[in-house]
């Protein structure tokens, strides 16, 4: 009807093959590489879908076309029209390696400055430079693939959730500040001067309200915000897969989301995951010294306190607890290797006082760093506690029980790495359950909710809320894969009285509880169903599925460790007039 310009290209750079030989095509893309050998000239052109080779020959190519080709620099944007030909020497490493394009015209759509780093799979650009020019970094295959991979994961998540009859509901981003734990980001309201919205740390209360609203099964892939002092690989804004279900027991939740785990591994990785085991928090802490055990290898913690105490070795005798792990086949470790382990456990991040080792030599003899204090028989008995075999090495720590177990967890993971037991293509998910409901904060002399204040205690533990609150277990669950926590949730409290009781135990006055969560408590008076759910760290999950540990690599425009977007230079100062309009001012010197 009306005259519009015709299309730019007939094909993308990745899709041509043997089948297209002799076709005339028009392609657009970036100049990856130009090789000029006098009479011959090769150009690799790249777009999102692949790379294709253009070949020009002085003797046969139009002079204009040749001149244009010779003017090209890296990352120039060009439009090439030409004919697909079979290559003389094929390149089996390239998807389009069977063919090349003999061009008739080459048009420069946009020139490019020389990029500050090479746009190759392995680049010479440092982290900071690549962050500043993130739009160039994304041109590199590994980064582009990560973003496509992320899209694929969210696509597969939605497939599963939709199939399971969950409704995706968008909850608001401008909500109310109710910090409990981390700090909220806040947003001044111009229309309501002196008042503020807050950005959600999670949609927790809204998803519970959706259950009160009868939506039965809710999910959302949603941005959340936490104003934390940033640590490595934490982002002030991050994405969560947030889920909630009504009329469910913990069993229903674990079953539903075990299904999701299986679905993702199958559809993303082609891996069949068998039944996901359950482990209590107590068992996890006991056997692994961690509520995030890496189950790709065994090497459980063994309690040696009874066995090793009271034999005159002062360090052990004065310790609250002694325990160790058995490193299979490591009796041959050199002094140097053992010194490395001693150094490892003494690092401030680990904080053990030292390390005692027992070599169970392959000839059956036992040799330790504490031979002075223990007979060979006594040490043999220790090896039996580990069910150790000749050739194994026992690594023993002592001190306060809780701390020592944590140190042993770190040592166990380190030995797992050294022994290659933490295989990147093996996945061992586990549900950790029966967490303590409360954690004591020694500084503030009050209890905090270990998950959040809406977590239901186990029915049989409710009587302990008054007498021994620290012993109360929660109907909570964490999904841990390969030592990484991927998600966590719980059955929620749905009865007003119990929720009030918990707020009380957490040290809220009635007024405070009402001020912060009044709307939720009110909602509970109008027929709240039993409900529960889970939230997953989506960025973390994507990274794990892709075999990486850095979530930043899977975020299109991440912030650095100072919470700064160095590409757009944000945050940034604002003109006074804008602040004035919002009715706020900056406090100088923070006083």
């Amino acid at each position: 009807m009306l005259n519009l310009t015709t299309h730019h290209r007939t094909h993308t750079c990745g899709e041509l093959s043997h089948a297209d030989i002799n076709k005339e095509v028009t392609l657009c893309g970036w100049v990856q590489r130009v090789r000029d050998k006098g009479g011959m000239l090769w150009i690799d052109v790249r777009d999102r879908y692949g790379v294709i080779q253009i070949v020009l020959e002085e003797s046969s190519t139009e002079i204009n076309c040749m001149q244009n080709a010779k003017s090209l620099g890296r990352e120039y944007v060009i439009k090439v029209t030409g004919v697909v030909k079979e290559r003389m020497s094929k390149n089996p490493k390239m998807k389009t390696g069977d063919i090349e394009i003999i061009p008739t015209t080459i048009e420069v759509l946009n020139p490019s400055q020389v990029p500050p780093f090479t746009i190759e799979d392995n680049t010479d650009g440092g982290d900071n430079l690549r962050m500043k020019y993130r739009y160039l970094d994304i041109r590199r295959n590994p980064v582009k693939h990560n973003l496509e991979f992320r899209h694929n994961v969210s696509h597969q998540i939605r497939n599963y959730m939709d199939e399971q009859n969950f409704v995706e509901v968008e909850t608001p981003v401008l909500i109310k500040s109710t910090p409990e734990g981390a700090r909220d980001f806040i947003v001044p309201s111009r229309v309501n001067p002196g008042e503020f919205y807050a950005l959600p740390q999670s949609p927790q209360t809204f998803k519970q309200l959706l259950m009160v609203a009868g939506l039965d099964r809710y999910y959302q892939i949603v941005k959340c915000f936490r104003d934390e002092d940033l640590r490595a690989d934490r982002q002030p804004e991050f994405t969560q897969l947030d889920c909630e279900m009504s009329f469910v027991t913990q069993q229903d939740i674990l079953q539903t989301f075990s299904g999701l785990v299986k679905h993702l591994f199958k559809n993303i990785k082609g891996i069949e995951i068998s039944e996901i085991p359950l482990m209590t928090y107590q068992e996890a802490m006991h056997s692994y010294g961690s509520d995030k055990p890496d189950l790709r290898f065994d090497m459980k913690l063994v309690d040696l306190t009874t066995q090793l105490k009271g034999k005159g070795f002062l360090v052990f005798d004065s310790a609250e607890w002694i325990g160790g792990i058995c490193a299979k086949g490591c009796a041959i470790y050199t002094r140097k290797q053992i010194d490395e382990l001693i150094e490892f456990v003494k690092k401030p991040q680990i904080g053990a006082g030292g390390l005692v080792y027992v070599r169970y030599n392959s000839d059956g003899t036992v040799k330790s760093s504490v031979d002075k204090f223990y007979t060979e028989d006594e040490l043999k008995k220790v090896t039996e506690l580990f069910k150790a075999a000749p050739g194994d090495l026992l690594l023993i720590l002592c001190g306060k029980e809780k701390h020592t177990r944590k140190c042993l967890n770190e040592l166990r993971l380190e030995m797992g790495n050294r022994l290659g037991l933490r295989k990147s293509d093996e996945y061992k998910p586990v549900w950790i359950i029966d967490f303590p409901l409360l954690e004591w904060n020694e500084e503030e002399k009050r209890f905090y909710a270990m998950h959040h204040p809406f977590t239901s205690p186990k029915t049989e533990d409710i009587p302990l809320l008054d007498s021994q609150p620290e012993k109360v277990r929660a109907i909570a669950h964490d999904l841990v894969i390969n030592g990484t926590e991927i998600g966590g949730g719980s059955i929620r409290i749905h009865q007003k009285e119990l929720q009030e009781k918990i707020f009380h135990v957490l040290g809220f006055t009635k007024e405070e509880a009402n001020e912060k969560f009044g709307f939720l408590m009110n909602a509970f008076e109008f027929g709240a169903p039993p409900h529960g759910g889970i939230a997953f760290g989506f960025d973390r999950w994507v990274a794990l599925l892709c075999g990486s540990e850095t979530i930043r690599d899977f975020i299109a425009f991440p912030k650095n460790n100072a919470g700064r977007d160095v590409m757009i230079d944000s945050p940034s100062p604002l003109p006074d007039v804008q602040l004035k309009e919002l009715g706020i001012s900056i406090q100088k010197n923070n006083t």
Copy 2:
């Protein structure tokens, strides 16, 4: 492995049917209604999936069960175990109307206060009350269906976009303030005192950077934020379907998103949409007095200036422009009906000075309110200009051309309503193109970008940028359906020089342009491809597809017209300590 409680329910309330007769089932839900007729008692139980009837008989039901049933109030949450039986008198209006449940136990999972309004399709609750108790409002079928409908639309959008090889990429929410048009919401940074993030009004610059990054096809269903003085049915946070493509002409974009429109109408409404027509901005303004024409009916504007001027009727003679519309079959309108129309056009929101009518009576005679000044022949000629038939009514306005055309647009829509021509089950999409690039702001004596400053002018109009900027047309496109703008976009500028030129025309100094958009200008130096895209108002689109005009009905937790969430009472004041930590303070009296 570990002992977990078993499931709450065996079925949901909506899924049982004739096939389940004699099964023992356990159901959970809310008490919709209790009818107590002495010896017999009926309970309707409701969950997300439906309603089912429970029947108790004094003579046969367990006494405990009967007592529990008699204690129930509206919206109590209950768990019922019983046997499915065929109903004596079936209810064809209910999905489960063939059956009922004879209960053996009824357990109250949670009681409920009497809800502040009835949880029925037609409720007695006013707007404000329903907003405050939104979690109860969502229990009502119409609201619940709207949320499920919204989910279905986003699901179908993703299906189409994924199929078309678009990658969904999440762009950041904490960005940089670059207001141009509407105001930004801002977020103080605690870690960087005195500095602020802003919430995005749209991911515009990020999606353009993703094109520079080579992602080729991007989309996102994403929350956007605009700190506007709120009007009816505007929300400070709203959802956008945001899309961008590289190496495309406008034709490619329109083709791709015509496909999306067809896909949605087919898969959501079962309606086949034929080719979507194009209309220039000029033609739309000329024929309909609006760039959002409702094409469900014809009734085009007709220019009568030449015909009616200079015949001694002072009002017309002194007017810049005279024009009218033809209302088919309305010659029989009574004086009262015509007075209503006169009142309508004189309303301050419309602002016409008056209305002249010409009746083309069915006997062929012509009668008008200006018979004094025009002969019957002259008026007959006017009817010919409209191609009017006997029985039609001509409605004529005059004044400044632009204003009068706008008034005629309103009158046209009003007549469309009166004549039932705006059918709720008919959909007439149209692409409006060739918008002016710039709009003159009389107050500020400067040009503003009509869409946004990144819109490309038509190549042939670029020379006019210096001489007659107001005449420059943009390569822009709006999707209009039934008179509602659903989306808009453009081909973007991808060359630094042209972008600088436009910033100059918009009155930015080089420093301002650099301060605000330096990162985008820089990106343009490293091989930006030709690109363009579109963004759709997702809330608006969902509402339109569902035959509604109120976006608030399709948002789970909307804010009111003062930007307030009355359910959670936000925005709200913050404790001084929290503001102090952020390094900001409230300015009293806004001075």
